[in-house]
Symmetry: C2
């Protein structure tokens, strides 16, 4: 019997009535002949209620105790969902992360799954039980409760699907799937039927909130077929799968934007080995994620340099502390500047690997819309540009229309093997 | 270093501010030189909130899932209390029942503790940590979460004290200790400084709500000194200890009442062996607790009999079902009657074992107050009478005054060894 893993987020289990709806949907899948494992989040609002209690208690709760506290949210959901299923006549059993045997490292509030013991789940599935697993949580070597950080329930679902070799991992959410652009910003955004792990990974890290990148990484590593779909209707959503040859026929699959980053520029750095390493080494020590980095060629005359990079606005205070330290240590001598009014727009598509001229086309579209490009960064399947924050909607809509993302793509001729440069 | 176990109930941890107060009290004990293990209940109202959710989900939630659900209440409390202690500069660690290794049987919602592994607690105490344990919960052999039923957090505290050979187990509550009578009903009720396990056990099963009888049983079996005291002030409360010789000099230590039982009388039972066994065997199968049983001598003429017994009013529906079944099986031939308007008043004291005339004195007090006795039941240290429910306050006050319970007892002369009959 094929195993199906389903994940329902906090909104889907946000009330008694919604939990009953989820139960009915699970039963349908069971009746289609699947063995079903379900991962659920805390009821919407519950995690915040618990965090508020913690912060009333102390301005800086320890991370171990935070995990002990917030992991109760998912435990409540699994018990209620199991009750709903049993009430509808279907054997079901709830299991905490500890009971499943989801072993993680000890990095509280942001732990990584190291191992899953599938024995207890398989034993219950063999009895015909629907297995309901608490998302977002695990235990470390010392049996301390850990949580997996943002998008943790998705990560749990994908990891269980990998451990159980499930046929699909269905991620139920409040949108119909993955779109060519955010439908709230681009009205003719189109639902994608299929997308590769690599593309999904770029989209996730570029601000598309449908899936967290860690869950996509695990899916890619273990070849888990993800199905992102709505818990509010029965529309087929988006399949996230291994890249297929024909996917390269489509030049780009989506355009995204994010406005939660700021650009930091540090001037007059010594032009000698180790300076950039010192800057980014210190930032890494403070767990600051640096997104884009641009270092223009140095001027031979001065032997100094400047570096620009983008970081989350919420990390700016820490970043300024790091720069002050570097200044005291003598590694930074000049001034630095911060620009908060930026946006990063990106286009993503595995087709870039074989189609030429994609970047040139992007720059032309932005130029036509009189949008200035302030930084550029590229990967094999992505091009990102920093632009002024107040031009982000114009950019998204211009790019979406310019690349014809609103239309089902025509299958272009298979690219010549030699045509693998894109600009 | 001596180990002290403290237990705080739901009211004591009912808000962020109250949890902080509990933390301050714990720190005081730590600073007196104790290694402290603390057991806490769910914040007041939380367990009911969770049960309401369950009953919105299904009229009959399964007991395993109920335990999965309600055990989260204590988990929230331990995390918050640990945060409060850490915030005040004291190392503390929260532990669930599973993490401590509180192994129980699999009787969900009313499990019994079978074994406690003290290793993890001792390791944390050795580091100077205050250990905060979730009350009311454990795990069975299959790692399912179980709960211990009514008074479960007291049971956890006493069991931990036994496992750790603690010097004291302090039970913090919202009253100052154990009184000679319920102070809400008898205004001059007196706080007892010391009471034996046996007396406390009788008082607990007779409706005194300060301690649940199971926790007293464990304390008695493992010789754990209980200290029942208030979490609202620093008054010394009541010590519950092993019986001492001098305790027998006090005739009675308390008077209690309960009004949550009803009397069932079954008429015209065959006067032959096995009939009573059939009746009470069936009741036991349905897990009905029968309290008092009275069977008057049968009349030789008819060879039939009647039996009266008392059960919880909330069990009456089940009891009537049992009687109907027995009627169909032919074991019960006559009618039955139910009287809901009864009260059971009881006096308790180890001194009864050596003082004569206690029962006679009780009956005289009731007679003087024109209170009719409808059933009598006795044990070595207790006398209970069924009376009319509307006379219960008169009876309590009459007995309390009649036996002079409001005054510190005079030490009477040691009783003669031969004078061991009491009525």
């Amino acid at each position: 019997m094929h195993i199906l893993v389903q994940k329902y987020g906090g909104t889907s289990v946000g009330s008694v009535e919604r939990i009953k709806n989820v139960a009915r949907r699970i039963i349908k899948s069971k009746e289609q002949g699947y063995s079903v494992v379900v991962v659920v989040s805390a009821m919407s609002g519950e995690t915040n209620r618990l965090l508020d209690l913690a912060h009333e208690m102390t301005p800086e709760p320890t991370r171990r105790e935070l995990d002990m506290l917030v992991s109760t949210g998912e435990q409540v959901s699994i018990a209620l969902l199991a009750m709903a299923l049993q009430d509808m006549g279907h054997p079901a059993i709830s299991m905490t992360g500890a009971q499943v045997g989801i072993r993680t490292d000890a990095n509280f509030t942001n732990a990584r799954i190291q191992h899953i013991d599938d024995k207890s789940m398989r034993a219950e599935l063999a009895k015909g039980c629907i297995v309901i697993v608490a998302g977002f949580q695990g235990i470390d070597q010392g049996n301390n409760i850990t949580t997996l950080g943002r998008g943790g329930s998705d990560t749990t679902a994908v990891a269980l699907a990998a451990a159980l070799k499930a046929k699909y991992c269905e991620i139920y959410t409040d949108v119909d799937g993955v779109y060519t652009a955010d439908p709230n910003k681009v009205s003719d955004a189109r639902l994608l039927r299929e997308i590769s792990y690599e593309e999904m990974l770029e989209l996730a890290s570029l601000g598309s909130k449908v899936l967290h990148s860690r869950s996509v990484e695990i899916a890619m590593n273990y070849n888990v077929v993800l199905h992102v779909r709505s818990s509010l209707n029965t529309t087929e959503g988006t399949l996230v799968v291994k890249e297929k040859k024909e996917m390269e026929q489509i030049r780009i699959n989506g355009v995204t934007s994010k406005t939660d980053e700021a650009r930091v520029t540090v001037y007059d750095l010594d032009h000698k080995p180790g300076v950039a390493a010192a800057v980014f080494g210190e930032l890494a020590k403070q767990r600051i994620n640096v997104d884009m980095i641009v270092q223009p060629s140095s001027t031979e005359a001065t032997h100094t340099n400047r570096i620009s990079f983008t970081v989350k606005k919420s990390d700016l205070k820490t970043v300024e502390g790091v720069i002050e330290n570097l200044r005291e240590m003598g590694a930074v001598k000049g001034k630095h500047a911060i620009d908060r009014d930026i946006a990063i727009i990106s286009i993503v598509g595995v087709g870039m690997k074989s189609h030429t001229g994609v970047a040139a086309e992007l720059f032309a579209i932005l130029a036509k819309n009189k949008i200035n490009i302030e930084m550029i960064s590229t990967s094999e399947i992505k091009i990102s540009c920093v632009i002024a924050e107040d031009r982000v909607l114009d950019a998204l809509r211009g790019i979406h229309a310019g690349f014809g993302l609103d239309k089902e793509p025509e299958k272009t001729a298979p690219p010549a093997a030699s045509a693998r440069k894109r600009a």
